[in-house]
């Protein structure tokens, strides 16, 4: 008697597994080796940890690393805080609610490069609409993108502008999953709106918070196109992040160094996301 074959054969997984292995897993594993070499795509000579040493010695490379963390923290905190507040506002039955949701969400879908170019024009120190608008109310606006102290934060703001719609959307879905009974019980107990927000909304919308924070942290740490479309990491190296450093090293032909940057980016993401996920899961049990 022949054994009956499963109606769910493993060869169904094969096409996906081949593509994923060849174009994602193999390069990822290979990066560990190539980051230890001087490499021109054809020949690689082993140089030990020199690439990594260089990465942590060159001040502009270190700054890229620091900027990456600042940028990711800023964008993910601002997206989750503002996203939750906007979601609460946009589920409270205000006038033009669904139109407002659409308006806030639309930038998520448009070209990042297009947004970057538009804001570069809007943020022009003298002729940009932002500073002209500020001048009209008596504020002397700064050079948003060409001031080294400010450039990274301005780019983070553009990122927030483009991404806030997604955070809001996720929070709206999260709020919809909270049973109205909780609010009713809180009202009967005499809780004010503010108390309801802190005692009911914030704890119960946690799954959405986890999603927003995790997604925007991963996105923020890997962020490249918005920076490339606005400042290209400049002025100088003031707004460089790991992803733009990797691209610059790649362009300059330092493939080993670029790959070491990639491994560092991977390590950084793992170091931040894995403990965070563990912490989020642990807190879930406490609830």
């Amino acid at each position: 008697m022949t054994r009956r074959r499963s109606p769910y054969p493993y060869w169904f997984v094969l096409p996906a597994a081949v593509v994923f292995t060849v174009l994602f897993l193999v390069p990822t594993l290979a990066s560990l080796w190539f980051s230890l070499t001087r490499w021109d795509l054809f020949t690689a000579s082993f140089i030990g940890l020199d690439n990594y040493r260089q990465f942590f010695k060159e001040p502009f490379l270190v700054q890229g690393l620091v900027n990456t963390v600042i940028y990711a923290a800023l964008t993910s905190v601002s997206k989750s805080v503002l996203g939750l507040l906007l979601a609460v506002l946009l589920t409270s039955g205000i006038l033009w609610q669904s139109f407002l949701r659409a308006v806030i969400f639309f930038p998520v879908l448009v070209s990042t490069i297009g947004v970057g170019i538009t804001f570069t024009a809007l943020m022009h120190p003298t002729r940009g609409a932002i500073n002209i608008g500020l001048a009209a109310i008596g504020i002397h606006g700064p050079a948003w993108l060409s001031n080294p102290e400010l450039a990274l934060y301005s780019v983070a703001f553009i990122d927030l502008w483009k991404g806030i719609g997604l955070a809001t959307l996720i929070y709206i879905a999260g709020l919809a999953a909270i049973s109205p009974d909780y609010y009713e019980a809180a009202r009967i107990d005499g809780a004010t709106r503010v108390q309801q927000f802190w005692r009911v909304t914030v704890p119960l919308v946690r799954p959405a918070t986890v999603t927003v924070v995790t997604l925007s942290l991963i996105g923020g740490l890997r962020s490249f196109d918005i920076i490339w479309a606005t400042t290209r990491g400049g002025p100088g190296f003031a707004s460089d992040v790991l992803a733009s450093v990797i691209y610059k090293q790649y362009q300059a032909g330092f493939y080993g160094l670029a790959t070491a940057g990639n491994v560092i980016l991977f390590a950084l993401i793992a170091l931040i996301i894995l403990p965070l996920t563990w912490w989020f899961n642990k807190r879930e049990i406490d609830l």
Partner: protein
Amino acid sequence: MTRRQRNSGLIAMAVAFVIFILPFAFTFLMAVKTKKEAALMLFSWPTEWHFWDNFTEVIQARNYMLLLAYFNSTVITVAAVSGLIVMGAMVGYVLQRRPSGWNKVIYAGVLMGLIVPPAVVPTIWVLQGLGLFKSLTGMVLIQIAYGLAFSVLLYRSFIATIPRDLDEAAIIDGAKPWAIFFKVILPLLKPVTVTLITVQSIAIFNDFTNPLYYLPGKENVTVQLTLFNFQSQFQSQFNLLFMNILLVTIPPLIVFVFFNRQIVAGMTAGAVKG
């Protein structure tokens, strides 16, 4: 609607208008100005409307590069999304229907796909080895590899809602595994497939970084790269640059208008369960 709800709506609308609508209005106004007027970069009403002139000039620029870019981007998007549908659904199906030790391996792969940043230079090295560097085929396969994790998760959770009785009825009728999947299961996945198509096609159409690395060369240009190329070429021709932005923004706008609900479903998947 209470007075409070009306007033907060009015205030929110005013704020949203300034913050979210004006930048788009600015893009549009810049796109219809003359070269000289656009160079001022002011947020002003155009004195002359040059919509049509600018439109034709952008299309014709660099030997119709924008049309070629539209063609390339469309080919990449359609092919990659088709691949993601079939491959993602097949993995999600086996993953959900056949519990085994292999599932842990698949989940590990999915988790990596979601978190690990692609190692770009080694990927170029692999693509060169396969003869796929600078080719549309290579770009399509890259987009599939990077989008698989999301597709598998989306399909797996949807397949969990499809009763096994359907598979079993087909098995009793003597259907082969591939026939059960393609004729019974895949058609039932239509709602989630539409979601996947909208979300992934926008993501792939808007992708800039991957074509920048894996698809250099004039003949391979994609729409996002035209913006980037024109940024230096049109330094003194902001009207054309912004017309280009406008043209690149239209496809997502159309998808948004018709598939708003599916996009919302796709992008919030997992938000409730965590």
